[in-house]
C-alpha cells in the first residue's frame, strides 16, 4: 500500500496530538486525586502521594519522552517514507513520462503510418473513382453525342420540312391574297373606268358648261351659234317647212 508524503505527515501529527491528549487527561486525573486526598485519606498519606506523584510524573515524563521518540521516529519514518515516496513518485513520473513519450511516439508513428496508408488508399480510391468516372463520362459523352447528333439531324429534317411547308403555305396564301387583291383592283379599276367612261361626257359637259358659260365672249358664243346652225343645216335639221 502506498501513501503519499502528505498523508503520512498528517497521520503523524494526528498520533502526536492523540498521545498529548492522553497525557493531559492523565495529568488532570492525578491532580483531582490529590485534591480529594487530604479530606478522605489524611496527612499520612502525603509521602505516598508525593512518591506516587513523583513516579507518576516520571512515568509521564518517560511516556512523553517515549511518545516524543515514537513521534520523532514516526516523523522520521514519515519523512523517509515521504522522501522515498517522493523519489518513487519522481521515478515513476519519469518512467511515466518516458512511457507516455514512447507511447506518443508509437502512436504518432502509427497514426502517421495509418494516415499515410489511408491517404494512399484514399488516393487510390480517388484514382479509381476518377478513372471510373472518366470512363463513364467518356461512355456517356459518346452516347450523348450520338443521341444528340441523331436528335439534331432529326430536328433539322423536321425543321427543314416544317419551314418548307410553312414557306409553301405562306407563299400560296400570299399568292392567293395577291391574286385576290389584283382581281379586286382590276374589278375596281374596271368599275371606276366604266363609271368614268359612262359619265365622262356628262362630266365634260358640265365642266365645260360651267367653264365656258362664264369665260366665252359674246363673239365666241356667236361664232359657236353659227357653227351649231351650220351643223344643223348639214344634218338637214332645218330642212323643210311645215
Amino acid at each position: 500500500m502506498n501513501f503519499d508524503s502528505q498523508t503520512i505527515l498528517l497521520f503523524t501529527i494526528f498520533l502526536n496530538a492523540f498521545f498529548s491528549c492522553i497525557l493531559l487527561f492523565l495529568l488532570m486525573h492525578t491532580s483531582g486525586a490529590k485534591n480529594e486526598s487530604p479530606q478522605s485519606v489524611g496527612l499520612g498519606n502525603d509521602a505516598l502521594y508525593s512518591q506516587t506523584k513523583q513516579k507518576s510524573l516520571g512515568i509521564l515524563s518517560e511516556a512523553i519522552k517515549k511518545a516524543n521518540k515514537i513521534l520523532a521516529n514516526a516523523e522520521l519514518r514519515g519523512i523517509k517514507l515521504f522522501a522515498k515516496e517522493k523519489l518513487d513518485s519522481e521515478k515513476l513520473d519519469v518512467e511515466y513520462h518516458l512511457q507516455i513519450k514512447e507511447l506518443e511516439e508509437h502512436l504518432s508513428k502509427s497514426f502517421s503510418d495509418h494516415i499515410a496508408e489511408s491517404e494512399k488508399k484514399y488516393q487510390d480510391f480517388l484514382n479509381y473513382i476518377q478513372k471510373t468516372l472518366e470512363e463513364h463520362i467518356q461512355k456517356d459523352q459518346t452516347a450523348l453525342e450520338a443521341r444528340a447528333t441523331t436528335f439534331i439531324t432529326h430536328s433539322q429534317e423536321v425543321l427543314d420540312t416544317s419551314v418548307a411547308t410553312i414557306q409553301s403555305e405562306v407563299k400560296n396564301q400570299l399568292d392567293r391574297e395577291i391574286a385576290l387583291a389584283k382581281g379586286e383592283i382590276q374589278e375596281y379599276k374596271k368599275r371606276r373606268l366604266k363609271i368614268l367612261d359612262d359619265n365622262i361626257v356628262e362630266i365634260l359637259e358640265k365642266t365645260l358648261t360651267i367653264a365656258l358659260g362664264k369665260s366665252l365672249s359674246l363673239a365666241d358664243q356667236s361664232e359657236l351659234i353659227y357653227k351649231a346652225l351650220e351643223e344643223a343645216k348639214k344634218e338637214h335639221a332645218l330642212a323643210g317647212n311645215e
Partner: protein, 173 residues
C-alpha cells in the same frame, strides 16, 4: 297691195316674231294717230317720237310708200287683223341661245335663216344659258339641241381616245 304683198314687204327686214308683232303694233298706233287724230306726222317722225330702236326705224322707214298707202281708215283694222293672223301661218323657229344678243345680232341671225333655210321664216329667240357652245331650236314641233352636249356626244369616241392617250402617257411617265 293685198295682204300677201304687205306681208312680203314686212318680212323683207323683219326676222323675229317679236319684231313682227311690235311693228304691227307700231303700224296700228301710227295709223290710228294718222286716221283718227289731227296729228299727221311721217312714220319716221312717229318712230322717233316713240323712241323706237334704230333697227325699227331703219326697217319701217325702208318700206315703200305704196305699202303705207295701202292702209286706209276703212281697211286698217281688217288688214292689221289679217297680218296678225298670218303669224300663225308663217313658219316660226324657236331658238334657244345662251346669250342675250343685240338687235343687230338678231338681225344677222334672221338674215342667215332667210338665206340658208327659208325666205318667209320668223324666229322666236329665247335665252337659255344652258345651251352654251351652240344653240337649240324647235322646228315643226321638234326639238333640236346643237349645244355643247351634242358636240361632245358626237365626238365621244375621239374624246375618250384622247383621254385614254393622256392616261396612258401619264401612266408611262
Amino acid at each position: 297691195m293685198n295682204e300677201q304683198e304687205l306681208l312680203s314687204i314686212i318680212l323683207q327686214n323683219t326676222y323675229t316674231k317679236a319684231d313682227y308683232l311690235r311693228r304691227l303694233s307700231l303700224l296700228r298706233e301710227y295709223f290710228e294717230e294718222k286716221f283718227f287724230s289731227i296729228n299727221n306726222q311721217t312714220m319716221t317722225d312717229f318712230l322717233t317720237s316713240q323712241n323706237s330702236s334704230e333697227e325699227d326705224l331703219a326697217a319701217m322707214s325702208s318700206w315703200n310708200p305704196s305699202f303705207y298707202n295701202s292702209f286706209s281708215r276703212n281697211n286698217l283694222y281688217h288688214l292689221l287683223d289679217s297680218l296678225t293672223k298670218y303669224i300663225k301661218e308663217i313658219p316660226i323657229i324657236t331658238l334657244y341661245i345662251p346669250i342675250d344678243t343685240s338687235d343687230s345680232d338678231k338681225y344677222a341671225l334672221g338674215k342667215w335663216f332667210r338665206t340658208s333655210v327659208a325666205t318667209d321664216i320668223l324666229l322666236d329667240i329665247r335665252i337659255d344659258e344652258k345651251k352654251v357652245g351652240g344653240l337649240a331650236f324647235i322646228k315643226s314641233s321638234r326639238f333640236f339641241d346643237y349645244s355643247l352636249p351634242y358636240f361632245i356626244s358626237k365626238n365621244r369616241n375621239n374624246i375618250l381616245k384622247m383621254i385614254d392617250n393622256f392616261a396612258y402617257a401619264s401612266k408611262r411617265s
